[in-house]
């Protein structure tokens, strides 16, 4: 090859290399950004800061975390390099790929209840257990067993963000106007409903157009201390979801409250938005929902937020019923050279002082006990008191396979009269078995 030919080959190679680099850089789908604190010079601590890589979903970083980052930089000398991934399946796949290729962060923000089936590695080999850390003394492990721990019973995640609770939200003015007391048994609940109905108001508002909202009564009913034990058996085919008596209580409730005429006339056409208005305006007496609805009511009807309270749905009565807890997301420390510094940050984050900073800037009920500064509404404060008194259990337990992906439309079918509680439970069990079989689970051959 002559010199001219060699030059041509070199040029060609350069073009190919440059193109490949451009394509590769364009393929890097994640958005990496340093926290605000990284751009500011450390005014208080001149010493070199510890840098920790944090990986999490984009929308999980809001005002609360911003405030904490500022404080952490000043007090701890810790700097977080936050890498945000998109929400949903794309983000999940991206994080899984990162873990599969051992491109690991120091801290992972992920949903609670990490298990091996989530494809991030075996938890005990990949993440640092939090069971012996100081912050856990302010955390009610018993309430979260089966929801925030892993298959081996250890807690690898530390709570990140607020939790939510499934309760009966009620309009205090309606109750006061009719001189009603918060019901403690199901009989009292029906009696209260009857009195509200006689006054011309809607006793229990159902927002069946948004089918997911109809899941709340069974969610509340299934929140029981024995839930994780039950699911341990379900996961190995020793118990069936169709025999889930606690959940059935909630499904039967939907049937009964409709049959007794204690709901809004067009409950299948009325939406979550309609429910908020009816409850805030006092057109409806009660709404079975999670406390996340209070954020919407606060925005839309700020002058009526104080009229709304919360109580536990008395399915069984006699103190057996619980507030249904939806777990907060979690922070996981990845084993590696920075795990001590990461643990230091997590201990700082979960301390009462830092939690006060976080919840002063962001809504949600803290899962850490003793947090005094929050943006909670009266209904959320009432729910939190019930939780703090120990009358709370997780709504979900670690399930090896999904069973609830169609639960909203099944409960809507129940409300529409097309299904019985037994048929709903048979359907969710069939879904679970189908998912187990598709994964070749030997227990479901």
């Amino acid at each position: 090859m002559n010199a001219r030919g060699l030059l041509k080959v070199k040029m060609l190679l350069s073009i190919v290399t440059a193109s490949a680099l451009i394509v590769l850089s364009a393929c890097g789908g994640t958005v990496s950004e340093s926290s605000q604190t990284t751009q500011k010079p450390a005014a208080v601590k001149p010493k070199e800061k510890t840098k920790l890589k944090v990986l999490g979903f984009g929308s999980w970083f809001k005002e609360g975390m911003d405030a904490v980052l500022k404080d952490a930089s000043e007090k701890m000398g810790i700097e977080l390099e936050i890498e945000k991934v998109p929400e949903g399946d794309d983000g999940v796949k991206l994080v899984r790929t990162r873990f599969a290729t051992k491109d690991l962060p120091d801290i992972l923000l992920w949903s609670a209840g990490l298990t091996e089936s989530q494809n991030l590695g075996i938890p005990s080999e990949t993440f640092v257990s939090q069971d012996d850390q100081p912050w856990i003394s302010n955390f009610d492990k018993n309430s979260w067993k089966g929801a925030m721990d892993s298959e081996d019973g250890l807690f690898y995640g530390a709570p990140y963000g607020g939790m939510n609770s499934a309760v009966v939200l009620y309009n205090k003015k309606v109750f006061e106007g009719l001189e009603l007391q918060v019901p403690k048994t199901l009989e009292e609940f029906w009696s209260v409903s009857e009195k509200i109905k006689k006054s011309g108001k809607i006793p229990v508002y159902l927002s069946g157009k948004d089918s997911w909202t109809l899941q709340l009564p069974p969610f509340m009913a299934q929140a029981r201390p024995g839930l994780s034990e039950f699911f341990k058996k379900v996961n190995v085919n020793q118990a069936k979801l169709s025999d889930w008596s606690d959940q059935k209580r909630g499904l039967v409730f939907i049937q009964d409250v409709i049959a007794k005429g204690y709901v809004n006339k067009e409950f299948l056409s009325d939406s979550y938005d309609n429910a908020q208005k009816a409850l805030a305006d006092g057109d409806a007496g009660m709404y079975l929902m999670a406390t996340w609805v209070m954020a919407d009511i606060s925005k839309k009807y700020p002058d009526k937020v104080n009229d709304i309270g919360a109580f536990i749905m008395p399915f069984e009565g006699n103190g057996a019923d619980r507030v249904g807890l939806f777990a907060p997301n979690s922070m996981y420390i990845v084993k590696g050279k920075n795990q001590d510094a990461a643990q230091q940050f997590v201990n700082y984050f979960e301390s009462i002082d830092t939690q006060n900073i976080y919840f002063a800037n962001e809504g949600g009920i803290p899962a850490i006990k003793g947090v005094t500064v929050t943006k909670l509404t009266p209904a959320e404060i009432e729910a939190q008191k019930l939780i703090d008194s120990g009358r709370a259990s997780a709504v979900y337990s670690i399930s090896k396979y999904a069973w609830d992906s169609d639960f909203g439309s099944l409960t809507q079918g129940l409300a529409a009269g097309g299904k019985s509680p037994e048929q709903v439970q048979e359907s969710i069990w069939n879904t679970f078995v189908k998912n187990a079989k598709s994964k070749d689970d030997p227990n479901f051959k």
Partner: protein, 290 residues
């Protein structure tokens, strides 16, 4: 000679390759995956034989989806073609408002299905919807219904929206065919005494037959493949009362059972193929010779 033939094939090959790549391969791929336990990560560990197909047929909820799909496809096709023909004959008359009427009839076709669905969700609300308000206003309360939440009538309500939206398409097809009928034919028929109904039955309709057949087949295919309207109007509800095959496929995909979803897609493909072939065979083929 050989060279000429070879040349012919080289012209044909690029198009055939594209056809194979984007149609034949995905079609066979979908057929193949229907026999596996393909999951949400698009990986599969084994062949499951006909398990996915058997599961789909065994579940009573899925039977509703098949039944609803057939009801929807045939009911909407009947009305879209029937009404389309009548309206096309009407707007083919020389009226002052003809142009306006033609535009109005076609207008729903170009509207977004989501926008139409949202509008109808509001209009068909049992308490606040304009339809029931009107019925109550004219003292016909007994006709006021929970149009989209009553399990018994929801499929008919959804079909009504589809008929409203797509009848205009049939109108345009028939109108084009009507205007292509030579005047000499109708005039000589009139001279022979064929007026009104007789002319329509023996002259106009036979000449419209090819368009009539095409319209039926197109609407049947569209009806069997309905998805967006159902999702936006009812989400397949209440419960699963308005579920169709495509919402069933969507459900399987979102639940990570991609093998089952592709099996259902394949069943839908076979169903469309079978019905269209049958209808094509049953429909009268002979048009009057021009």
């Amino acid at each position: 000679m050989l060279r000429k033939q070879y040349y012919r094939y080289t012209m044909f090959l690029p198009g055939f390759a594209v056809f194979c790549l984007f149609f034949v391969l995905p079609s066979f791929g979908s057929f193949f995956y229907g026999f596996t336990n393909l999951d949400s990560g698009f990986t599969f560990t084994r062949f499951v034989g006909f398990e996915n197909f058997i599961n789909l047929m065994r579940e009573p909820d899925n039977f509703i989806a098949f039944k609803n799909t057939l009801i929807f496809a045939f009911l909407t096709t009947f009305f879209k073609v029937g009404l389309g023909l009548l309206l096309a004959i009407f707007v083919n008359l020389k009226l002052k408002t003809t142009l306006y009427l033609r535009s109005m009839l076609f207008f729903p076709v170009i509207l977004s299905t989501i926008a139409v669905s949202l509008a109808f969700t509001a209009m068909l609300h049992p308490e606040r919807g304009i339809l029931n308000e009107f019925l109550r206003w004219v003292h016909m309360d007994f006709l006021a219904q929970s149009w989209l939440t009553n399990r018994e009538i929801v499929m008919y309500s959804v079909s009504m929206v589809e008929i409203w939206k797509y009848t205009g398409l049939s109108v345009i097809l028939f109108l084009a065919a009507l205007q292509s009928i030579p005047k000499e034919v109708t005039e000589s028929a009139q001279l022979d005494g064929a007026t009104g109904w007789k002319s329509l039955r023996h002259i106009t309709f036979p000449l419209l037959l090819p368009v009539f057949n095409t319209s039926i087949v197109l609407h049947l295919i569209g009806g069997l493949k309905v998805f967006d309207l159902i999702i936006a109007l009812t989400g397949g509800g209440p419960g699963n009362a308005s579920m169709v095959i495509n919402t069933l496929i969507y459900k399987s995909f979102t639940q990570g059972r991609n093998g089952e979803a592709t099996a259902a897609s394949f069943i839908l493909f076979l169903l469309v193929l079978f019905i269209v072939l049958m209808v094509n065979r049953l429909l009268p083929k002979h048009e009057t010779e021009r």
